[in-house]
């Protein structure tokens, strides 16, 4: 008997008797003999709790996390401070352990949180309808593509190269399935090439997909770029970083039909990439094509206000092959974390945080641009993240900075071969002026050392 099961020898005897078999093994006889494993799994024996803890703590110790290295890496996930109340609330059994709220009478807590969350995301994006969350960012882009196909009965997406590479790749993966074609539009000076975009959009275009701030940190003129979509009756899909929406014009005010993105910056820790959540907002027009759960307000038989899962007729458990999406288990707890973080920031704090990010980003950008061997990759206006060019091999420079306890940024070369010398630097409220100055210093030293061909570790 493990620490998690309760059937004692006596229990087993009584239960087997009631079932009318002599042993539990008999119950497994419905499995044809040749398909029974007939040996223990080739896995280690179970461990005590303290041994499991020590084992995993030892593994964790072999990761250079943001407590060990000052983290300027972003690329969609950011080292924001997650307030303590987020953990305190999300760790409550009542939020942590229930299933999806199929029985609304005993799930009002979770359902109301979804309703509050939908309201918050709707406020952030400036679009009237939000769902309760999807898996994460890039797959939300793919889901938007699926929605657009259903809405327009067209099969082509025009996608900016400024959209996160993971989103573009995920969209491509899904497209092989639901059968769509992707046309990519390049960047000019850090921004989507407007002319090329206009030229690429036509009557076959289901959706124009942009990101702002884009992957290089540039703030796009979504409204201007989106005109082409409107013109040809394509949906305008805008991916965005929710943390920038305290100061940036919301996609909904720029003509977006769908606004979505990676939710991690809101109340979710880095967790080496997940779990986080994807947010997904749209116009009223798309409400019955939305993917994922949506909570709605209603009343009980006595007239008490209450909340339920609304519009379930979109979903797989009702509509099966005709569902608007296949998603079932999503990321409810992560959406709760976001809601608590947003309530904690509040209307004023959320704006102040946006301003703080803009100011520190500007400072960092200037500071780094002044470093010998570093220049800006582009001059476009940026928010919370920006790209530079290094006059030394990026990988080597990153190694040298790592030795000094700094994760200096995200190397662009892998996903943007045209920028093999590019480095993407991200700012959060945790990155102080001192840390930014240290980064500038470390980069300068690393580049100098590379030029003089000094040995790594020599510094």
């Amino acid at each position: 008997m493990t620490r998690y099961t309760s059937a004692t020898v006596d229990d087993r005897a009584e239960m087997l008797e009631a079932i009318g078999v002599d042993s539990a093994a008999e119950l497994f006889e419905q499995i044809p003999e040749p398909l029974r494993l007939g040996r223990p799994l080739a896995l280690p024996d179970g461990l005590s709790e303290s041994e499991v803890f020590d084992r995993l703590a030892a593994l964790a110790a072999r990761n250079a996390d943001a407590e060990e290295q000052v983290c300027f890496v972003g690329a969609g996930m950011y080292d924001h401070y997650v307030p303590a109340i987020v953990d305190a609330i999300t760790q409550r059994s009542e939020f942590l352990t229930p299933y999806t709220p199929y029985q609304p009478e005993i799930s009002q807590g979770g359902l109301q949180v979804m309703f509050e969350f939908q309201t918050a995301m709707s406020e952030l994006t400036g679009l009237p309808v939000s769902n309760a969350g999807l898996y994460e960012g890039p797959s939300s882009v793919a889901s938007a593509g699926y929605l657009a196909m259903g809405a327009t009965k067209r099969r082509r997406f025009v996608v900016s190269r400024g959209v996160h590479p993971h989103s573009r790749e995920t969209l491509a993966t899904y497209s092989k399935g639901y059968g769509a074609e992707i046309v990519e539009v390049g960047l000019e000076g850090g921004l989507t090439d407007a002319a090329a975009l206009a030229a690429a959009v036509d009557g076959e275009t289901a959706a124009v997909i942009l990101q702002s701030p884009n992957f290089l940190g540039s703030v796009e003129d979504v409204e201007a770029l989106g005109a082409a979509a409107k013109e040809h009756g394509a949906l305008l899909v805008v991916a965005t970083d929710p943390m920038t929406l305290g100061i940036l014009k919301p996609p909904g005010e720029c003509g977006a039909d769908i606004a979505l993105g990676e939710g991690q910056p809101l109340g979710n820790r880095l967790d080496y990439g997940g779990p986080s959540f994807g947010f997904f907002c749209a116009t009223e027009e798309q409400i019955r094509r939305m993917p994922g759960r949506i909570a709605g307000e209603t009343e009980d038989v006595d007239g008490r206000r209450g909340f339920v899962l609304a519009l379930q007729t979109r979903e797989q458990h009702i509509r099966r092959e005709k569902a608007t999406n296949n998603i079932c288990t999503a990321q409810a707890l992560n959406a709760l974390a976001a809601m608590v973080h947003l309530a904690w920031l509040g209307r004023q704090g959320f704006r102040e945080l946006g301003e703080l990010l803009a100011q520190r980003t500007a400072y960092a950008r200037e500071r780094l641009a002044a470093v010998n061997g570093v220049e800006l990759l582009h001059e476009a206006p940026v928010m919370r993240e920006f790209a530079v060019r290094l006059e030394a091999p990026v990988a080597a420079v990153l190694d040298r900075c790592a030795e000094r306890g700094i994760a200096a940024g995200y190397p662009l070369g892998h996903e943007y071969p045209e920028h093999s010398d590019g480095l993407l630097v991200a700012i959060t409220e945790r990155r102080s002026r001192e840390q930014i100055d240290d980064l500038a210093e470390a980069l300068g030293a690393a580049i100098a050392a590379e030029r003089t061909g000094e040995r790594v570790g020599a510094a």
Partner: protein, 507 residues
């Protein structure tokens, strides 16, 4: 004086959203100062790209935020409150140890783009989890990328497409039994295939004649779960596998029911090519009120080349040192990414901790006890009123869950399965899954899991008996139920007809 309760305290407390508790000027967060020379915002970002008004987020101090969400939390029923026999959802205990190890800074504050050289612990953990799941499923190659079961299904179908495409084949159909879970057909459509339903035989398994009639070279894949959603093991699985493989199709295993067979039987040995595993079911990741989860897939050799990118690999060191771990992007035949970065790592930590805790014996014992508990509860519900009004849909030993039919109850007492479910709420139980699988009239799908005590199973059976006898006297009691929940029956139709999906806000 007990006239003084006509409503429970929670019912008396009407729902109020956090926006309705907001007051201009209040705040919880105090932010650090910029600490750098500041510029007017318009100098940094063109004015036309800036927003005029900040979003109308709540304005409220920390103490009231905590009270608001703590109070809301009490309006949830949860696994730690009581018995939760929600069929197909495997509501097993969520060990807090797993939360503790997932929260270690080395996991929680590790950036997903950290250089693999500096994330060796995380990559090794993922690799170890891949190995463990491969062994449990009997399929050697594992990708942890899918974010949940349905994501794993989509992945499996895209793998199938890539596999056939690589052979120059174009297939259009995917077979799935009429008992299959809704995500199966939904995934099929998303993957660009057409669903073909396969009938169920008298023993609750696949109707072989129907299957034979529908198997042909247009069939890309057959999706099954075994034991299936009736909680029954399909004895013909070997023959089924042979049929599909003969026509060159793939066999997909929906792993939602893996909790029945861990350490006893392996999908790979049954002939399946692709399996998804719901870590939030068999491997104890908490459900979180609707996620997060993770749906890793395990596949056979022939499918391996197409696995999503990147793949976590172990490299033996050339210079005699220990092995190292890396992310392999160089997979030319890969279907590509299904999402950002490496997947729901925090979930991997919890599930790996669970596997380490139980070990080989523990996992087998968990499945054995799950099956024992299910059969015992089935036996208890075979007695007395339940036996008569709620007969078992297919009279066989079940695996980890079983399905009852409320048809006689409805006919004889005018009580729908929904009424029974709602009345159970007053008794402090979460109801079973209702009206699924569709095949069974007024279905009640019951999955107790291994972590429940015999006392809980008995109490549940007694409650059903009591509700049925109460209904014989007066069916209205159940028809009007529940009475003691924070709210009573809700108008779901209105919520769909005239959806109100966000709080309207003034300024």
């Amino acid at each position: 004086m007990s006239s003084a309760i006509t409503e429970t305290p929670m019912q008396r407390e009407r729902a109020k959203t956090i926006y309705e508790k907001s007051k201009p000027g209040r705040r919880a967060a105090v932010l650090p100062g910029a600490g750098v020379p500041e510029h007017p915002l318009e100098e940094l970002i063109p004015a036309n790209l800036l927003r005029d008004e900040p979003p109308r987020l709540p304005e409220i101090a920390e103490p009231e935020i905590v009270r608001h969400y703590n109070r809301l939390s009490r309006r949830n029923f949860d696994l730690d409150s009581g018995f939760y026999p929600l069929g197909s959802c495997t509501m097993k205990h969520n060990p807090r140890l797993n939360e503790r190890v997932a929260a270690l800074p080395g996991h929680a504050r590790l950036h997903p783009a950290q250089d693999p050289k500096r994330a060796q612990g995380a990559l090794e953990l993922m690799w170890l989890l891949q190995q463990s799941l491969g062994e449990i499923c009997g399929l050697p190659h594992v990708s942890l990328q899918p974010s949940a079961g349905s994501h794993g299904e989509l992945a499996g179908l895209l793998l199938t497409r890539a596999y056939h495409a690589d052979r120059g084949e174009q297939r259009t159909k995917v077979l799935a039994p009429d008992t299959s879970h809704g995500t199966n057909p939904a995934s099929v459509t998303m993957a660009g295939y057409e669903v073909v339903k396969v009938a169920t035989n008298a023993r609750g398994g696949v109707e072989m004649a129907d299957l034979r009639a529908k198997v042909n070279d247009e069939v890309a894949c057959l999706m099954l779960t075994n034991p299936n959603t009736l909680g029954l093991f399909d004895e013909n699985i070997a023959e089924i596998a042979a049929l599909i493989h003969e026509v060159g199709g793939t066999l997909y295993y929906d792993g939602a029911n893996l909790n029945a067979v861990m350490g006893h039987s392996r999908p790979g040995d049954m002939g399946f090519d692709i399996v998804h595993v719901n870590l939030h079911k068999s491997f104890s990741q908490p459900h979180g009120g609707g996620g997060p989860g993770a749906g890793p897939i395990a596949v056979s050799d022939r499918i391996e080349p197409y696995l999503p990118r990147p793949q976590v690999v172990r490299r033996e060191s050339d210079n005699g040192g220990g092995p190292s771990f890396d992310l392999d992007f160089d997979r030319p035949k890969s279907i590509g990414r299904l999402r950002g970065f490496q997947g729901n790592f925090g979930v991997f930590v919890r599930s790996y901790a669970y596997i380490l805790s139980l070990g080989a014996d523990g996992l087998a014992e968990a499945s054995e006890t799950a099956v024992l508990n299910a059969n015992y509860l089935k036996a208890r519900l075979g007695e007395g009123r339940a036996g008569e009004r709620l007969p078992i849909a297919f009279e066989r030993h079940c695996m980890h869950e079983f399905v009852l039919s409320g048809k006689p109850m409805k006919k004889q007492l005018g009580l729908a399965t929904l009424d029974l479910a709602k009345r159970l709420l007053d008794f402090g139980f979460h109801p079973p899954t209702v009206y699924f699988p569709l095949l069974v009239d007024e279905a009640l799908m019951v999955e107790p899991t291994e972590t429940e005590t015999k006392e809980s199973l008995d109490a549940f059976a007694d409650a059903i008996e009591q509700i049925l006898s109460e209904a014989e006297a007066d069916p209205e009691v159940a028809r009007q139920a529940p009475y003691t929940t924070p709210v009573r029956r809700l108008d779901e139709v209105r919520a769909t007809r005239r959806p109100v999906v966000r709080q309207p806000l003034g300024d």
